[in-house]
């Protein structure tokens, strides 16, 4: 599914900085946001996010 960060941000109603920070691994989204992303991409949450070794 090919959309830009800005379009994705608009679809889930967050800022582009948020999407960028999530992709860069600098920000861990809330559960609600993670579920919204999963629903948008029609994939389970675990395929989009996984636990780091430190967690």
């Amino acid at each position: 599914m090919n959309i830009t960060q800005a379009e994705l941000a608009n679809l889930i109603k967050v800022s582009r900085q948020t999407i960028n920070s999530i992709e860069a691994g600098k920000y861990v989204p809330s559960t609600v946001l993670a579920l919204k992303l999963a629903k948008l991409f029609a994939k389970p949450v675990e395929e989009i996010f996984d636990l780091e070794d430190e967690d």
Partner: protein, 145 residues
């Protein structure tokens, strides 16, 4: 997501205007020895005792209210990342405020102490505003690459 206790976005502008106006008033009052000829807000006490000049008190009030309005104004895009940035900014502000306060505690005495502690109360809000906007600026810069 619960929205925090925030004012509408236009208060950012109103806050800056208020802050700057009263900052100028405050600096001017201090320079003129707390008495500006022709412009003083008086609160008279019992007859026979000295008049109370409240100009500097109002300048202080205006500065604080202006800074508060800037601090608590809603951003255009309030989402969870901004909430996290706000929290971190407040933490920085509180810590720096207290570090400065403790330094002031040992380096000034008497009237000088009161004077500097008064100005230190601005530090809390100023550090918050600076740190918050700096974090937002760094995030925006990260986007541009």
């Amino acid at each position: 997501m619960k929205t925090l206790f925030l004012l509408p976005t236009k208060f950012n502008r109103i806050g800056w205007v208020t802050f700057l106006i009263f900052l100028v008033l405050g600096i001017y009052t201090t320079f003129m020895g707390f008495k500006i000829p022709g412009f003083q807000i008086y609160h008279t006490n019992e007859p026979g005792s000295a008049d109370y000049n409240l100009t500097d008190e109002f300048a202080f009030l205006g500065i604080i209210i202006g800074l508060l309005m800037i601090s608590f104004a809603r951003h255009v895009n309030e989402d969870e990342l901004i909430s996290k940035v706000r929290l971190e900014s407040w933490q920085w502000a509180v810590i720096i405020h207290y570090v400065l306060l403790l330094i002031i505690n040992f380096t000034t005495y008497g009237f000088g102490f009161v004077f500097t502690v008064t100005f230190n109360s601005f530090t809390l809000l100023l550090v918050y505003i600076i740190r918050f906007n700096y974090s937002l600026f760094m995030l925006k810069r990260g986007l541009a690459e």
